[in-house]
């Protein structure tokens, strides 16, 4: 143990988002430690099965039959795949985003954002992928909002995605195509240029009358191998 070999094969140094005070204060400065190969096991967090049921794929209404939220209803569909491009089946996908005015239904956004809440939009939902790793959701296209008034930093419209299941864990943000704010957003720009198309939803055929975007997710990690759950 403690071989120089392990030390030299260190992990990544995580990048800091420019002009982001929280990123500057919270991103570890030291190189990550690689877990020694001999100690690697396939056990990554696995939410218990009883919690893996969720049918909250329509964010545009608080409940079926309630009024639709303001703004443009959109569909987002895609597949979740592992690094061997196998489907990530029956895994929990959590999504959240701002309303059409660029306001989150979150107490932290209450003191800093003059944009109105929408009484018909909470902006979060949960769903589970099918046996082909497919998901689909309906939401409102989020508005842009200003993140730092002092430097005029706007966040472009984006939807947050979280994928958690037996063997996979990813949190990312989906951006929209043809948004001029994308190229000025420090959080978007920290993505290497060659990978930026991976976080932009692609226009797709309309879905039940809604403008639709395709957002496929490929999850990295040699030990993030999704097994069959049953």
């Amino acid at each position: 143990m403690n071989t120089p070999d392990i030390v030299q094969r260190g992990g990544r140094v995580l990048p800091v988002v420019v002009n982001d005070r929280e990123s500057e204060a919270r991103t570890p400065a030291n190189r990550l430690y690689r877990i020694p190969d001999a100690a690697r096991d396939p056990f990554t967090p696995c939410p218990p099965a009883p919690f893996m049921r969720a049918g909250e794929h329509d964010l545009t209404r608080l409940a079926p039959g309630r009024p639709q939220a303001s703004g443009e209803a959109i569909a987002i569909t895609g597949r979740i795949l592992d690094e061997d491009l196998r489907p990530v089946r029956r895994t929990l996908v959590e999504v959240w985003g701002a309303n059409a005015h660029g306001r989150y239904s979150h107490v932290i956004d209450a003191g800093r954002n003059d944009a109105p809440l929408d009484p018909n939009f909470y902006g979060f939902g949960r769903l589970v992928t099918d046996d082909d790793g497919r998901y689909q959701l309906r939401t409102i296209k989020p508005g842009a909002y200003i993140a730092r008034t002092d430097i005029g930093w706007w966040r472009p419209p984006h939807v947050h995605f979280s994928v958690v299941g037996s063997g996979v864990r990813l949190v990312t943000q989906m951006y929209f195509p043809d948004e001029p704010l994308n190229e000025k957003d420090f959080i978007f720009l920290i993505v290497p240029a060659a990978d930026r198309d991976r976080v932009i939803g692609q226009p797709a055929a309309t879905h039940a009358g809604d403008r639709a975007f395709r957002f496929d997710i490929v999850i990295r990690g040699r030990f993030q191998t999704p097994p069959d759950l049953d």
Binding site: A39, R40, F51
Partner: protein
Amino acid sequence: MASEDLKARFTPEATIGPFYPGAFLTHLPQDLWTVAPLVAHHPQGQPIVLVARFFDSLKRPVPSLVVELWQANAHGRYRHPQDQSAAPLDPQFDGFARVRTSDEGVLRFYTIKPGAHPVRRESAEVRAPHLRLTIFASGIDRLITQLFFDDESSNQSDPVLQSIPDPRVRGRLIARRRRTSGGGEGVGEYEIDVVLRGEDETPFFDDWDG
């Protein structure tokens, strides 16, 4: 080229940002000792509470930081399809929780002390009892680390803990047992400071391929 098309291009990770929905916390277990309100069942093993304080580079507490905890049961068995261990499962223990730090940057996590276990079924190397943390917060992408207990002699041979060469850095992953327990009678209380950046920075791990 077809082979290039087939090669996976990974989706980049991003921060959860400041507006992570609180409902995502309450939808998943937050307390692994209490099975459900007013239920008499409890998992097997020694009940413990972990008190973890999270700090940034300026030693300020980090509020609204989300931690996903994952651990073996008291017998060292994970409730995971790939755990081939002969150790028993515990009907009352799933081992997954999602919790959030308070406005003071403090996390109180009620669970049972996990058992030691071999790395894999035939493996000679033994993992000391530990908690696996996946950490999210505004300003950072996913961070992972593992926390150990200061009253476990198996720490001396744990292959993950001992892969950190500097003993002072290693010590930052070891929670200290408090002499007087504030967690209730019979509950072992452990405390640790997790420093995301700066002096006394906690070691974090990389689970990507090299």
